[in-house]
Amino acid sequence: MNKDHGFWAIIRREVRRMYSRPLYGLSIFFAPLFCYIFFTTLMGEGLPQGLPAGVVDEDNTAVSRSILRNLDSYQQTEIIKQYANFAEAREAMQKNEIYGFFYIPKGTQELASTQRQPRISIYTNATYLIPSSLLYRDMKTMAVMASAAVGREVLYARGANLDQAMGFLQPIQMDMRALGNPWLNYNVYLSNTMLPAVLVLMVLMVTCFSIHTELKDDTAREWMEMANDNVFKAVSAKLFPQTMVFSLMALVYLVLLYGVLGFPDNNGFWPMLLAAEMLILASQGFAVFIASAIPSLRWSLSLCTLWGVLSIPISGFSFPVMGMPPALQGLSYLFPLRYYFLIYVDQALNGVDMVFSAWFYLALLGFMILPLVDIGMLRKAAHNYTYLI
C-alpha cells in the first residue's frame, strides 16, 4: 500500500490545505467565535433596563406628578425628558430619542376628583418592537395602578380594609409563570439558537466550498486517486479534519452558554452535546448532498448559503413556525437547525424525557445519511469537470 494513498493521507493533505489558506481559519475559527462573543456580550443585560421614555404632562397637578414619579421608579423605564406638547414628543420619537411616552391631558386631576373618568394615553414606537413592548408593559401597569390608587382611596373612605379593597378592585388576578426562563432573559432566548445558527451557516459554506474548490483548482482527480476512486473514503477523509474543528467550536459555545453563563440546561450536558454534534454532521451531510447534486461551485455555494441564512428565521425561535404561511411551515422541515431548536427546547429549556425528542434526533440522523442518495454524481464530476467562469 502506497503511503500517499488512503484515509490518513487524505486527512494529512486536507490539514495542509486548511493551513495554507487563511480563508479557512477565518471562516472556521474567527467567524463563529466573533459571533459567540458578539451575541452573548451584546445582550449581557438579559432584559433591557432603563429604556428611555418621555412624558407630556399638560395637567401638571399633584395627581399627574404622582403618576410620573411612580413610572420612573420602574426598573425598565427611565423618564428622560418632559415635553411641552404632543407634537414635540412625537418628533422626539421620530428622532429615536425615546421609545414611548405618557400623555396626561389637561384637567386629569379635576375630572378624577369630581369622579368624571379622565383618560390618560400611552404611546410607543412599535418600529422598535422589543423596547416598545417592554415599555408598554410598564406603562400599562402604571396606568392601571394609578387608576386603582384613586379607587382604593374611595374604598378606604368607605371603611374597607386592604384585602377587601384589592378583592374589589381586582377580583381575578393572573399569576404568570414562564417555564424554563423565568427572567424573560433575551440572551437565553436568542443566543441559544443564534450561536449554533452561525456555526451551521459556516459548516454548510465551508463544506461545499472545500469540495468544489477541488474541482475548480483541478485537484479533484488527484484527490479521488488517493482514495482509490472510493468516493465515500475521499469525502469522509476530507471532511474529517473539518468535523473535528467544528466540533471543537460547538464545544466552545456549549461550555460558554451552559457553563460560563449558566443558561438553563435541565437535562445536563450530554443531550445537548449529542444534539450539537449531530447538528454539525447533519449540516455537513446536507452540504455534501447539495455539492454532489449541483456540479457548480457558484450555484451549490449559493444554495448552501441561502439554506444557512434562511435557517435562522425558519427555525422559528424568534417568530414561531405556526405563525408562518403554510408553505413555509412545510419547508421548515428541511432545515437541520429546526430540529436542533426543538431538541434544545425539550432538553435544555424544559428538561423533558429524551423519548419526546427522539424524532428530532432521528431527523438529524436522516440529514447525516442524505449524501448516500447522490454522492455518486460527485465521483463522476471529479473525473470530468471543467470550471467555467
Binding site: M174, M194, F209, G323, I389
Partner: protein, 416 residues
C-alpha cells in the same frame, strides 16, 4: 478629459457586470427574491390562536366563563381540557400546546368571599410571542370579568357611578407607526437595507476576485490605462450606483408597497438619505474588495456578518442598552445608520432633519471609504501602470505556471 474617461470606465465595468452571471445573481436575483421571501415569512405579523391546554379544578360557572372567553380571544385557542396537570404537561412536551391555564379548586369560593382569586398561567418559553399571547389574552379576559364582578357587587348605584368606581382613570394604548404591532413592519425595513448593502459587497468582491484571478493568469486590471485613480474608482462607483438605483427603488419602494407595509416616506427625504447610503456601501465594498483573491471566497467572509449587523443596528435589541464597545464597532458599517434612518423615514414618517445624525454619518462614511479605496488602489496597483507593465505581468504569470508544472513533475519523479 477626465469626465469622458470616467464614463468610459463606467461603461466597461457595467458590461463586465452584465456579462457575469455570478455577479448578476447578487446584483439582481437576490435583491429581487430575498426580500419577497422574508416579507412573506413574516406576512402574518403576529401569532394568533396559540394552542393552550386547560386544567379546570374549579368546574364552576365562573371558571367556565373565564375559559370560554379566553378561547374567544384572537390570541388563544384551547385545544384540550385535561383531567390533571400530568396530562396537560404531556401535551406541552409533545409540542401540541404552548401554554397552560390552571384554575384552582377554590377559585369561585374565593370570589364569592370577596377576596382576590388567582388564575395560574404556565407558558412554554420557546418563543416570546407565546408568552405575549397568553399574557395579553388572559389579561384582557380578566379585566373584562373584573368589571362585571364589580358591577354586580355595586348594585344600588347608578350606572355612571359604577363606571367611575370601577375605572376612575381610563387609559388607552396606541402603538404608533406599526399598527399591527407585528414582526413584518419591524424587521423587514432592516432586512431590506441589509440586502442592499450585503449584495453590493458580495457582488463587488466577486468582480474583484475575478479580476485578481485574471491578473494572476497574466492580464491587466481594468482601468490600468488611465493615470488618474479617481477616474477609475469614480467610474466603477458610477456603474454600481446606476445598477443600484434600480435595485434600491425596487427593494425599498416596491416591496413595502406590495406587502402593504407602512410607507410614510416623502420622496426628497428618501432620495437624500439613500444616495449617501449607496455611496458609502459602494466605497466600503470597493475598499474591502482589494483583499479578495478569488471569486467565491466572499461568501465565506461576508455572509455571516449580516447576522450581527442586524443586531448592531439596534432595531431589535435597543441601542441604549448595548455595550459601548459594540456601539462603536457598529459605526463602521453603513447599514447601522441606514437601517435606523430608513426604518424611521419609511415606517414613522421622519423627515431629513429628524435623521440628520444618521445622514451625516453616512456622508462621513462615504468620504472615509472613498479615501481608503483610493489609497489601497494606489498602493496595490501602482506597478500595473508603469510603462511595460503588461509585459512584466504576463512574464510573471508564465513563470508561476512553469514553477507549478516543474513542482508537479518533481513530485511525480520522487514517487516513482
Amino acid at each position: 478629459m477626465w469626465f469622458k474617461d470616467m464614463l468610459d470606465v463606467s461603461g466597461k465595468e457595467l458590461r463586465k457586470v452584465l456579462s457575469d452571471s455570478g455577479v448578476l445573481v447578487f446584483f439582481i436575483i437576490v435583491p429581487l427574491f430575498y426580500p419577497l421571501l422574508y416579507a412573506y415569512l413574516y406576512g402574518r405579523e403576529v401569532v394568533r390562536e396559540v394552542p393552550v391546554v386547560v386544567v379546570d379544578e374549579c368546574r364552576s360557572a365562573t371558571s367556565r366563563e373565564f375559559l370560554r372567553k379566553s378561547d374567544a380571544t384572537p390570541d388563544l385557542k384551547i385545544i384540550s381540557y385535561c383531567a390533571d396537570m400530568e396530562e396537560a404537561r404531556n401535551l406541552i412536551h409533545r409540542h401540541k400546546a404552548y401554554g397552560l391555564i390552571h384554575i384552582p379548586a377554590e377559585f369561585e369560593r374565593t370570589l364569592a368571599d370577596g377576596r382576590q382569586a388567582t388564575v395560574n398561567l404556565y407558558c412554554d418559553m420557546s418563543g416570546l410571542l407565546y408568552y405575549k399571547a397568553l399574557l395579553s389574552g388572559c389579561t384582557m379576559v380578566s379585566l373584562d370579568m373584573n368589571r362585571d364582578i364589580q358591577m354586580e357587587r355595586l348594585s344600588g348605584m347608578s350606572d355612571w357611578e359604577k363606571d367611575v368606581m370601577t375605572m376612575p382613570i381610563e387609559n388607552e394604548y396606541v402603538t404608533m407607526f406599526n399598527p399591527a404591532n407585528g414582526f413584518q413592519a419591524f424587521l423587514i425595513p432592516a432586512v431590506l437595507i441589509l440586502v442592499l448593502q450585503q449584495t453590493l459587497i458580495l457582488g463587488v468582491c466577486m468582480l474583484a476576485g475575478t479580476e485578481n484571478e485574471r491578473r494572476r493568469a497574466g492580464s491587466l486590471i481594468l482601468g490600468a490605462e488611465y493615470s488618474n485613480p479617481i477616474t477609475v474608482l469614480g467610474g466603477k462607483a458610477l456603474a454600481y450606483l446606476l445598477v443600484y438605483g434600480f435595485t434600491a427603488t425596487y427593494v425599498l419602494c416596491f416591496v413595502p408597497w406590495l406587502f402593504n407595509m407602512p410607507q410614510l416616506w416623502q420622496l426628497p427625504t428618501l432620495v437624500a438619505f439613500i444616495v449617501p447610503f449607496l455611496l458609502a456601501s459602494i466605497f466600503f465594498a470597493i475598499s474591502i474588495s482589494f483583499f479578495i483573491r478569488d471569486r467565491e471566497s466572499c461568501f465565506l467572509l461576508f455572509v455571516f456578518v449580516s447576522v450581527p449587523l442586524i443586531f448592531m443596528s439596534g432595531i431589535s435589541w435597543p441601542t441604549s442598552n448595548m455595550p459601548v464597545f459594540w456601539r462603536v464597532v457598529a459605526q463602521i458599517f453603513p447599514s447601522t445608520h441606514a437601517i435606523n434612518g430608513f426604518a424611521r423615514i419609511g415606517t414613522s414618517g421622519a423627515l431629513l432633519q429628524d435623521v440628520r445624525y444618521e445622514c451625516i454619518g453616512l456622508w462621513i462614511q462615504s468620504a472615509v471609504y472613498f479615501m481608503t479605496s483610493l489609497i489601497i488602489y494606489e498602493r496595490m496597483y501602482r506597478s500595473d501602470k508603469m510603462p511595460g507593465a503588461e509585459f512584466v505581468i504576463s512574464v510573471r504569470a508564465k513563470v508561476r505556471k512553469n514553477i507549478r508544472v516543474a513542482k508537479r513533475e518533481i513530485k511525480a519523479k520522487l514517487q516513482n
